[in-house]
Symmetry: C2
Subunit: 497 residues, 2 copies
């Protein structure tokens, strides 16, 4: 074996060991840690981050990457690994320690301030920190460089190679067609969903969630589910993937969509090739592609009628007092109620994209300095009126609802919508490739779909960029058309449009 | 502040961050990890160990330690920190990478082989690995150096500054007095303990264990309890201390002694000063002193009558079907049955020390080459006959029962007995210093005892060596007399001697 390449693999795997160790500490922090442990845990994670950063910009590592990038003896996968690693190396090198430390410190402060401010609906106290963060993110985009728009550098952190212009184009479909479509639905008689908010006992919900994960072929020998305040997925290698969920006894939706959504993320992680541990070819492509996996399972499968033909009887038997009189068709209607609302995380799968569009427009405007931080609440509220027809009563239910900005995660929100659009496009192809897909799902057999995802998406890791992967799998560039068709077909029937 | 000393603190705290991160990974491995995650977890822990080792022998660190060791401007605590750190540094420097890697690899193999061999009672398959380990430990003792006996170097790893001669002296009391005392007890009518092995429901046992920990003032805001195959305590700082227990539905002893024992360890960890995080003054003294804390709570308190005067009623109410007819005195007798047995971990608090004595004698003999690995089972069995009067039926119940040797933990076992002897000596002093101690315990008030331990032992960290601490607290060198008196007083009454 090529000695340089071997050194490269070992170095990257060491780096992975450090990063995944940090992930274990973070998982534990969310799931298990007693409250007083937080300060020392923060410094332990910070020390590991420092060690990781040093390894990621190690001089010898850089030299070997340079050599390998010109080594024609490597095979295609090896070449793509080097390409990706060199890209990361060159980006990481651009950060100076002072910037990283300032950003990290500002984030810690901002998260604390946001936590209080969001509870008290007090944008004024958060504004100076948001201003600092925006200034730092503007600095960061200059530091990293970009071609056309400073926001490109932000997007690239989460969705490599995505550009502001591409997102603009995708969202033009949301702004024109989806706004009109949602209005049409709003004019119709609303479907009933009150029974979703009756009392659902915690333990039974938990067990039902585990059943759903098993049915999705989540491998419990290579992962586990726990409870946490906000559901998330993390993995320490493809053979140890952790999902969390939450259970609200007065809203059945939270557990169900949490489980299936995180389950979709987890299947991607479990589907990465463990032989490529630590290498780009063993890593997920981008947040958008990751989100496509969670949303394909959550929305395309989980909010579909065939899925509940397989599972509703079991749910009904668990909660006869709430569901005995409900038909599977009623249930299907209830879980697909479309209704503009103020809070992103509880939005339906259509109006959800207005929430993202608004955040995207605000972030872009902040980065290009066409608005300033003090203008954010009024711009926000105006856009909620425009796209959702809603008056925002206070900042708690408005501009302060999400934690992302206090973590300086600018450029992150768009990947949620990208996920839905990719999901619709992949799902359309999967249905063509697996003629019996609907029948399989009706029978609780999710294996053929998982096999398709493994083969077409999971196993490749980062061998292809998101755009290349999409083209390879679906034959087309990512576009809004598939999501539009999917939505039209589903909701026209549901709302008799 | 002294700049060198500040650098030293920051370096040690970084080292602590890495080591405690590794502890989080190990805790998770025992408590949560899905089975398939083990290989990658092993390499993650190994990478962190490597990083830790590099930091621990960092050249600049060594130079600064040298300078600080001659810096008269430091205060006493600072001086003792430097003394301890320099001692660690000089020891760590003696290990070469090749030795560490060989030992680590041999341990991994040995643990696997032992796991199988101990199940199948097959010493022959384990013997070649034990031989390799003994050879490596002999090498290690030469590498580290020692004054009188190669086993001194082994003891020093777990009980700094302890010598083979000292342990020999302590155990002379076990060999002479305790052997005779246990024989006297054996000649007496045995107390009844059958009700301890009735069916005790898991959840109720768990809740009772949590109750006991709360009563001991274990801080659940700074720690938690979980289940694991073998109970253990670990901490990631004094504000995040984790204990585990196990529950056997057919043996009430396992949960109770597991909880109280680990609780004792945990109170020590929670009692270390978090302001001294990462420094010797924020670290426990030795395994022997650590074990003194677990055994003081488990044996001196937990197996005492006052403790059950406080708690038996609650236990009885939880399990009336088993305990309604049992008096607190009967219960006290049952939990103190003395009876020679083959397995160390389920031995009573007196004959326990024969198990340790045997292991100590075997280890010492192996290190000084007076026996060879092939002789170990016959020597073992002969000693069980001599000290416990028992015939060992097979190696599974004999020489293969403990995992310690496969982890190359030679020199570890004696610290268990040291713990009991220290515990008896500390307890004797605590009773003098707190005249109401027995009354407090009877009332379920363990706070005065904990305050005493905090003040006299926990808060000091490694400021004093084990020997110095013992002298400071009790006015005397560690000796077998206190354990002898404690045992005589307690068991003469229990067995009408």
């Amino acid at each position: 074996m090529n000695q340089n390449y071997q050194w490269y693999c070992e170095h990257l795997q060491k780096l992975a060991d450090v990063n995944y160790s940090s992930s274990v500490l973070q998982w534990d922090m969310e799931v298990n840690m007693p409250p007083k442990g937080s300060d020392f845990r923060a410094r332990q994670i910070s020390t590991l981050s420092g060690i990781s950063h040093d390894l990621s910009i190690d001089k010898k590592f850089g030299n070997i990457l340079e050599k390998l990038s010109e080594d024609e003896s490597l095979n295609e996968t090896e070449k793509s690994n080097i390409r990706e690693s060199l890209r990361d190396f060159n980006r990481n090198k651009k950060y100076n320690r002072k910037f990283v430390e300032t950003l990290s410190k500002t984030i810690s402060e901002s998260v604390m301030v946001w936590t209080k401010a969001s509870k008290e609906s007090d944008f004024k106290s958060f504004a100076p920190f948001l201003k600092k963060l925006v200034d730092l993110k503007r600095q960061e985009s200059e530091l990293l460089g970009y071609q056309n728009h400073p926001y490109d550098a932000m997007l690239d952190l989460y969705e490599p190679k995505a550009t502001t212009q591409e997102i603009d184009e995708l969202f033009s479909g949301v702004k024109t067609w989806l706004v009109e479509f949602a209005k049409k639905i709003s004019a119709k008689k609303q479907n009933e969903d009150e029974f979703m908010f009756m009392h659902y006992e915690k333990d039974k919900q938990w067990n039902f969630g585990i059943f759903l994960l098993k049915q999705m072929n989540f491998d419990f020998e290579a992962g586990r589910q726990d409870l946490s305040a906000h559901p998330f997925t993390t993995g320490f290698n493809s053979l140890d993937v952790r999902v969390t969920t939450r259970v609200n006894e007065n809203d059945l939706n939270e557990m169900i969509w949490g489980c299936i959504h995180e389950g979709g993320h987890a299947l991607y992680e479990q589907g990465l090739n463990s032989a490529n541990y630590g290498l780009p070819s063993g890593d997920s492509v981008s947040l958008g592609i990751h989100e496509s996996q969670s949303r394909l399972w959550e929305n395309c499968i989980g909010r579909g009628l065939p899925y509940w033909k397989a599972n509703f009887k079991k749910l009904q038997d668990l909660f006869p007092q709430n569901l005995a009189e409900v038909s599977v068709e009623d249930f299907y209607k209830a879980i697909n109620v479309v209704k503009p609302s103020l809070i992103r995380t509880s939005a339906d799968e259509l109006t959800y994209h207005f929430h993202i569009l608004i955040r995207f427009e605000v972030e872009k405007a902040l980065m290009e300095k066409s608005i300033e931080v003090k203008d954010v609440p009024s711009v926000w509220n105006q856009k909620y009126k425009e796209y959702l027809g809603l008056d925002v009563p206070d900042d708690k239910n408005g501009v302060l609802q999400d934690i992302h900005w206090s973590y300086a995660n600018f450029g992150y929100f768009p990947t949620y919508s990208l996920g839905s659009f990719y999901a619709a496009q992949f799902f359309s192809k999967a249905k063509k490739d697996i003629p019996s897909l609907e029948k399989n799902i009706e029978n609780g057999n999710t294996k053929p779909l998982l096999d398709w995802l493994r083969k077409n998406i999971h196993q490749h890791g980062k061998r292809f960029s998101a755009a290349e992967l999409c083209k390879r799998v679906t034959g087309e560039k990512l576009n809004f058309g598939f999501f539009k068709e999917y939505s039209k077909e589903k909701y026209s029937l549901l709302y008799h449009l």
